[in-house]
Symmetry: C2
Subunit: 334 residues, 2 copies
């Protein structure tokens, strides 16, 4: 694991994000930057939507995973990779691993949503189940890494992962072809935010970075304000499973602290409204965690008026039953 | 109405499609051409999806309406336009009319889906209701046209409309950057198909044009085989409301007869499966009529193997209750 530790501790750089973009070219979808009349009306400004729900695997996670795995030496790839995740990171790792004929083990909770476990299994990854209430998934993952010589692929706290995710902002700014006042990101451990913030600092230093977090898991903005890493109560529940991370990362936090200008906390009903708006107006399927930034805009929690804002739609892997319950709630359609 | 008749009777040309593209630039969404790993696996070839669900108004219909209305003389625009439609064409006309500060009257059935009538009303168009079973909507529309001096905007049988819709294929071919073996289109009255066929004949004469139609409304392919316009039984029911047209158009049919190589009829369950696939794999909301071409591919009714095919996803304005019923049908998820 010394190789991993070394790589993981190097600085995240804009040059690294650019190099990641070159590695990813032709292997990921250059997802569209969309605009919607009704959303502009509500926001009182221009809102451009970076639709990572249209990425391979249904979220941005392939970017970081591909960037890391593509840089592994051939012998490490032959031994394989291991990751723990209940969803989108698992799918990203499985797709990237398959592209390099690299074995992949994913440590998943036994109660993970079927939609996400089926994705991983169909991609040929090996699933090791753990009990969310009694097992330590990191210990299981590290033991597999040691025993089988497999490289750990962290979900956010690794320079290669962060730089891979940063290609979202690099692409979006190229596509926008306009001055962007702010960039709003759905934030969990902070990999996507840190990567985007790093490249934006270089190519558009005047563009503000904002984060959106769900109620009870808004410890990142609280940490930034406090100047130190705070922890959310991990026993709380949220529908935003993809970004229900209890604390900002060790590598991501210093970047977030330096570069994030504002944070918005969104309630469950605001997230549901954003998902309904996605269905009704955008014709996009959004998962709760991937709709948080849009929810913040729709709820008026981001200063969009008279400005141009890019909003990430970061994932769309949602359980049909949950989606149905949101569609039934007709009054949410805006 | 002599002006309309004149314009409507001129030939549809590739040059007209190119001129339409110039008129539309900056006013419509250049919708993305998407690709999906799972769909390629099922098709045994490359399938590129032209996602017109992401168009303004949720379908391709804005293209034709904008192309027609933008060419009206100022005094005709000031008098306004009138159209009959239960859905997507109505929305396209309403958006285009608003862009030119042009009054719009839409003749709609009193039982039209709420999702579609709300779109039209929110865009500031005047709605005139008619009873689907006792009133003649064409007579109502023509009377309004005469009385108020408003220009009729037909839903497909007009050169400006057909050429506007043809920009879908022009854009898709520019985006594809590869040789395309066939182009598969959801077909109702044939406006989209005739427009696409016209421009493809010019820029890619080797690309086959295929149509997909719903059961009981597959009279276009039957007409092409018979060499004359046949009529479907209009009392039949289909969930594909957007393409449940009882006969190919007077202007569209000669083009279709000359250029369409193949037709596929899709069942209701095949359409539902395609909509579920849209949710599960593509993260796109498809309406039944907009999913017909994808349904034909998923059902193996298009010879996709070893070739490259473009498929239109032509609309996404679907009732939440219908969408819910499709999501509940878990076995449809492929």
């Amino acid at each position: 694991m010394s190789e991993l530790a070394l790589s993981s501790d190097r600085s995240v750089t804009a040059r690294g994000v650019r190099a990641a973009a070159q590695r990813l070219a032709g292997h990921i979808v250059r997802t569209p930057l969309l605009e919607n009349d009704r959303l502009n009306d509500i926001a009182g400004g221009r809102v451009l939507l970076k639709a990572e729900v249209l990425q391979r695997g249904g979220s941005f996670k392939l970017r970081g995973a591909y960037n890391l795995i593509s840089q592994l030496p051939a012998e490490a790839r032959a031994r394989g990779v291991v990751a723990w995740s209940s969803g989108n990171h698992a799918t990203g790792v499985a797709i990237a691993a398959r592209a390099f004929d690299c074995p992949a083990v994913i440590v998943m909770p036994s109660d993970a949503p079927a939609v996400k476990t089926e994705n991983v299994r169909a991609l040929g990854a090996e699933i090791i189940w753990y009990d969310r209430y009694s097992d330590d998934r990191e210990a299981i993952g590290c033991a597999i890494s040691e025993d089988r010589g497999m490289t750990l692929v962290p979900s956010y706290d690794h320079a290669d992962i962060i730089e891979g995710q940063g290609t979202v902002a690099l692409e979006a700014m190229e596509q926008a072809g306009a001055a962007i006042d702010r960039f709003v990101i759905c934030c969990g451990g902070g990999g996507l935010t840190a990567g985007c913030a790093t490249i934006l600092e270089d190519i558009a230093p005047g563009t503000e970075v904002w984060i959106a977090e769900p109620e009870d898991f808004d410890e990142t903005w609280a940490s930034i304000k406090a100047g130190k890493r705070l922890t959310a109560d991990p026993t709380k529940k949220t529908i935003c499973d993809a970004i229900a991370t209890p604390a900002p990362g060790r590598l991501t936090f210093p970047i977030l602290k330096r570069r994030v200008s504002g944070g918005a906390t969104v309630s469950e009903s605001e997230v549901r409204r954003a998902m309904a708006f996605g269905f009704r107006r955008l014709k996009l399927v959004l998962e709760p965690g991937g709709a948080a930034a849009l929810a913040a805009v729709l709820a008026g929690k981001i200063p969009t008026r008279g400005t141009t804002t890019i909003v990430t739609l970061s994932g769309g892997n949602v359980d049909p039953a949950l989606f149905t319950s949101i569609l039934r709630d007709g009054e949410n359609f805006g």
